[in-house]
């Protein structure tokens, strides 16, 4: 939005960097009169209070507007008041956290030239802050919480499916749980990499001291807790029966819980757009001198292509959600065929977003894995241009495949060959990623550390996910697979087996960078092994379950499929324990018994490792000049990656990052350093 458009003005210049009073420069405006007592100052407490007040206000206003509707009187459901209440609550929340102060202040024509007080200590993680590293950590914690919540819901789903006929939750609550799980995973996890790693690492990798629009960045995070709470609150309004796809007209028929879906997804859509927007602008404009596009790390490429999808595809979803909200409140008829609308319209709008969305969830996984591979192979990334072409190809093709979700729907049946073609074409750029991965592994010097294990797990899982996708793209084969557990297994292989394995690998890899503490490697190995085994044991049988005729999102199923389903459920619980192992490791290694990391524990050449762990507030002592690609392993002639490795700095990074061929250095924490 326009709110932040002109703010790139020196707000984020750290106080120490400021050159006050350049000749002719205006004296900075001081923000006097804005100092409020601590209780009313921006923060979580005020945000909570404002959110409640905003909700009440919106709810009251909605009642005022719509209480006279016949529809409201008869059903007792006032969707207008719920939607306005949620919107009011969201606005109250962000206002309370302090987002609105600056935009309102700007309207007076003043310019805030001073950076807000740099807050030290843990409390800054609970505040609206302009430090991209703090936002990155906030995102990381948030995403892990959202992931675990949705994961618990998945276990509830599997609990219900233990028996084909007797019910733990019953059909209504079961569908609520399925919808909550799906929606939370799909919408919140959209930012699972771009949020934490994108915000934290992109400036470090491009040698910048900040993001281009730090306020938008902070806002994009602070919208996520609002979306999370709104989505969960749906359960108290009777949930929503549509799953994450929200198909009209069921979504118009649904009760008030659906409003929570609409608003939460809408709020998250804004957050996604802002996050992607910020990343793109940052990468294009804030790269350090010498960081040509050819030297840009693959991770940044991946995150940037993802961001393009986020910025361009999500508005279409937003439009669709808005139409849905209009149908539910002011009673337009976008999706009602008897009044000139069409339920096909939602399917088209939703999947036009929905398919890029699944690549939003896949690309960052590619990016993380390809970024880590060279480090653990001690080889340059193989055919970097092919890798980039793969990611760009996937993201651009993803706009042209959406109707493969609608092969059986009766929409444009004569277009099916085209969409079959585009869908199958997309496996070419996806194949590039495998080429690059295998090329990098070729004759490598592999260190099988925990992040590397997750990389390998990623390749295996994504291979199965991708191959199963070919069955779905073939119309005749899709006739059976569509809408069955086969599809479900397919996208869990690509998203959970792909993205989340990469995410976990990324956490093991970069947490030392982000926190200065290292994860316990022994626990990490067990975490990987259990996760890999139980993941496959959970989802591999589901391919069979689907092909044997079990539709998705059912609370009852054929008795002959009980053995398979029970196997899957038990594996799912064990998978839950595997992830619990990660949480235990995280809490143990980060909080209870932190072990300090050595600098550059993986001996990476990456620019992000050329500064301290965690980096100082301005990331680098000075803006680095990038001299070489970060992947020049094994090249004795290669320059160091940047001029930061000049005399005066500890030699560790230089040594580890740019080991001349054959020279041995000591390894990082991957060699069992438990204390």
């Amino acid at each position: 939005m326009a709110i932040d458009m002109s703010n790139a003005i020196g707000v984020e210049v750290p106080a120490s960097e400021q050159v006050p009073g350049a000749p002719g420069e205006l004296p900075p405006d001081r923000r006097r009169g804005f100092q409020l007592p601590a209780l009313f100052g921006p923060g979580l407490l005020r945000a909570g209070v404002f959110a409640v007040l905003g909700y009440l206000l919106g709810h009251w206003f909605g009642n005022l507007l719509a209480s006279g509707y016949q529809q409201v009187t008869n059903s007792g459901d006032n969707n207008t008041s719920i939607i306005l209440g949620y919107l009011g609550g969201t606005i109250g929340w962000v206002a309370g956290i302090g987002v609105l102060a600056y935009p309102l202040f700007k309207m007076t024509g003043k310019e805030e030239l001073l950076a807000p007080q740099r807050r030290a200590g843990t409390s800054r993680y609970f505040k609206y802050t302009l430090d991209h590293k703090v936002v990155g950590i906030q995102y990381m914690v948030g995403m892990i919480v959202y992931f675990l919540t949705a994961g618990l819901l998945a276990l509830a789903v599997r609990t219900e499916l233990l028996s084909p006929t007797s019910h733990v939750f019953g059909p209504g609550v079961y569908i609520e749980i399925v919808g909550e799980h799906g929606t939370m995973m799909m919408m919140m996890m959209t930012s699972v990499v771009v949020g934490p790693f994108g915000n934290y690492l992109v400036p470090l990798m491009i040698g910048a001291k900040r993001m281009a629009f730090p306020r938008l960045e902070a806002l994009s995070f602070w919208l996520t807790p609002a979306a999370y709470v709104i989505l969960l609150s749906s359960l108290w309004l009777g949930g929503f029966p549509t799953g994450w796809t929200g198909y009209a007209t069921l979504s118009i028929q649904a009760g008030q819980g659906m409003d929570a879906y609409v608003v939460a997804f809408g709020v998250m859509a804004v957050s996604i757009i802002l996050a992607g927007f910020n990343i793109i602008v940052t990468v294009i404009n804030l790269r350090a001198p010498g960081l040509t596009w050819g030297r840009l790390p693959v991770f940044v490429w991946g995150v940037m292509t993802t961001s393009f999808l986020m910025v361009l595809a999500t508005p279409v979803l937003f439009g669709g959600l808005y139409m849905l909200a209009m149908d539910r409140t002011v009673q337009t008829s976008f999706f009602t065929d008897t009044l000139g609308g069409s339920s096909y319209l939602w399917e088209n709008l939703f999947w036009f977003f929905g398919h890029p969305e699944v690549y939003i969830l896949a690309l960052p996984g590619f990016a993380i894995v390809l970024e880590m591979l060279p480090v653990f192979c001690r080889k340059p990334i193989f055919a970097q241009k092919v890798a980039i072409a793969g990611m760009v190809g996937v993201s651009s093709l993803s706009f042209f495949v959406w109707q493969h979700h609608l092969f059986d729907s009766g929409i444009n049946p004569d277009m099916r060959p085209l969409f079959m073609l585009t869908t199958e074409l997309i496996s070419i750029p996806t194949g590039f990623i495998f080429l690059v991965g295998m090329g990098t592994l070729w004759k490598a010097r592999i260190r099988l550390t925990v992040p590397m294990m997750f990389c390998m797990g990623f390749f295996f899982n994504f291979l199965l996910g991708g191959i199963s996708g070919v069955f779905l793209s073939d119309v005749p084969a899709d006739t059976t697979a569509h809408g069955s557990f086969f599809v479900m297994a397919h996208f869990h292989y690509t998203i959970m087996g792909g993205l989340l394995f990469a995410f976990f690998g990324g956490l093991y890899y970069w947490l030392p960078k982000m926190t200065g503490r290292t994860m316990n490697q022994r626990l990490g190995k067990w975490n990987f092994i259990t996760m890999f085994v139980f993941f496959n044991s959970t989802f591999l049988p589901l391919f069979a379950v689907g092909e044997l005729g079990q539709p998705r999102r059912v609370f009852e199923y054929a008795k002959r499929l009980q053995t398979l389903n029970d196997w899957v459920s038990i594996s799912a619980f064990l998978l839950g324990f595997a992830i619990l192992l990660f949480v235990i490791n995280l809490v143990w290694s980060m909080i209870i018994k932190p072990v300090a990391t050595v600098e550059n524990p993986w001996h990476s050449r990456g620019l992000e490792w050329q500064t301290t762990s965690p980096p100082p507030p301005g990331n680098f002592e000075r803006i680095p000049i990038v001299l070489a690609s970060p992947y020049e392993y094994g090249n004795p002639e290669a320059l160091p990656v940047s001029d930061l490795l000049s005399p005066g700095r500890a030699p560790v990074a230089a040594n580890g990052a740019n080991t001349p061929t054959g020279q041995a250095t000591t390894a990082g924490p991957d060699t069992e350093r438990t204390s």
């Binding site: 529809q71 008869n74 059909p171 079961y174 569908i175 549509t242 799953g243 198909y247 009209a248 007209t249 069921l250 028929q253 009673q331 008897t338 009044l339 096909y344 055919a383 970097q384 092919v386 059986d408 009766g410 049946p413 099916r416 060959p417 073609l421 199958e424 070419i428 194949g431 590039f432 495998f434 080429l435 295998m438 592994l441 070729w442 004759k443 490598a444 010097r445 099988l448 390998m456 295996f460 070919v470 073939d474 005749p476 084969a477 899709d478 569509h482 069955s484 092909e547 044997l548 005729g549 539709p551 998705r552 999102r553 059912v554 009852e556 094994g634 090249n635 001349p660 061929t661 250095t665």
Partner: protein
């Protein structure tokens, strides 16, 4: 490293490549026939109908093509993890290989050809009957070769019912079809989106409100099949099932005539057969939209 490492690298690289290739070829040679001949005939959705058999054929082809791809990647990764490890505390750099244009070229070429072949294959299969089981909208490209029996599938929350326009427009709660004859399913919905899935027949067609979605099937022999809803449609989605049966032609005609007579009193209540049924035809609606609107779904 010694000055001639490049050459040794190259040579040992070739040896590794050959080894991987051989392992892969052997594995593929073993697995592909297994998939095609042993697993293939048992692949879902079975052989009750022309369409189901066609889909099984597609599954068989795709499965056989996918096998070497999976094997290649797995072989490569396992080979790499076994042979190209470095252990201990020393960190040694690998060979400086940034690209091998030939490899990339071959890879891109082979994947492109494979993918295009699959797309052509899929299109061919789709246009030749095997895709006829999937919903193709109101005016499908596929046309039945001989006389066909139209059967309307009406989905509503939360049951399927079946209407036989050629038998007085009678409506039943279970689906009976004759073997050996082309059936045209006209799938529609009275409320939200459902999906008509006759699993063993290899038929799946979304039931959309106000739309007639056509699918064809030709069953080979008598047998039972399950009908399920494959698109989340609300509370009882999981229980929205129906029984189906393929009968011999004679049995079917007998059944249909008997049922038509039996159901006559109820058939009288039904609206005239039509491809879609708007809610205002019967006057039954939820009055979601206010009285100011022409119809009240």
């Amino acid at each position: 490293m010694a000055p001639d490492t490049g050459r040794t690298e190259e040579r040992s690289g070739r040896a590794d490549g050959v080894r991987i290739l051989v392992i892969w070829l052997i594995l593929s040679a073993i697995c592909m026939p297994l998939v095609w001949f042993v697993w293939g005939p048992h692949l879902p959705p079975g052989g009750l109908s022309d369409q189901a058999a066609g889909q099984r054929f597609d599954n068989k082809v795709l499965g056989t093509v996918a096998t070497p791809v999976v094997l290649l990647v797995c072989t490569f990764i396992i080979y790499a993890l076994v042979n190209w490890r470095q252990d201990g505390d020393d960190i040694e750099d690998g060979p400086y290989i940034t690209n091998k244009v030939r490899w990339s070229g071959w890879w891109v070429g082979i994947t492109t050809v494979t993918v295009l072949c699959l797309a052509v294959f899929g299109t061919y299969e789709l246009e030749n009957n095997n895709g006829a089981g999937s919903g193709s909208g109101p005016s499908p490209l596929f046309a039945a070769s001989g006389p066909y029996l139209p059967v309307q599938v009406i989905a509503q929350q939360w049951r399927f019912t079946f209407r036989y326009p050629t038998y007085g427009g009678m409506e039943t709660t279970s689906l009976m079809i004759p073997a050996g004859q082309e059936i045209q399913f006209n799938v529609t919905s009275l409320d939200v989106i459902h999906s008509f899935w006759a699993y063993q027949l290899g038929v799946k067609a979304d039931a959309n409100p106000g739309v007639n979605n056509v699918a064809f099937v030709k069953a080979y022999h008598p047998g039972k099949f399950n009908v399920m809803c494959a698109e989340l449609c609300g509370l009882w989605h999981g229980a929205m099932t129906a029984d189906g049966q393929v009968m011999t032609k004679a049995d079917f005609v007998a059944w249909a005539n008997r049922t038509e007579a039996q159901e006559a009193p109820v058939t009288k209540l039904l609206p005239k057969y039509s491809t879609v049924y708007a809610p205002d035809e019967t006057g039954a609606g939820g009055t979601y939209y206010g009285p100011q609107y022409p119809v009240n779904p």
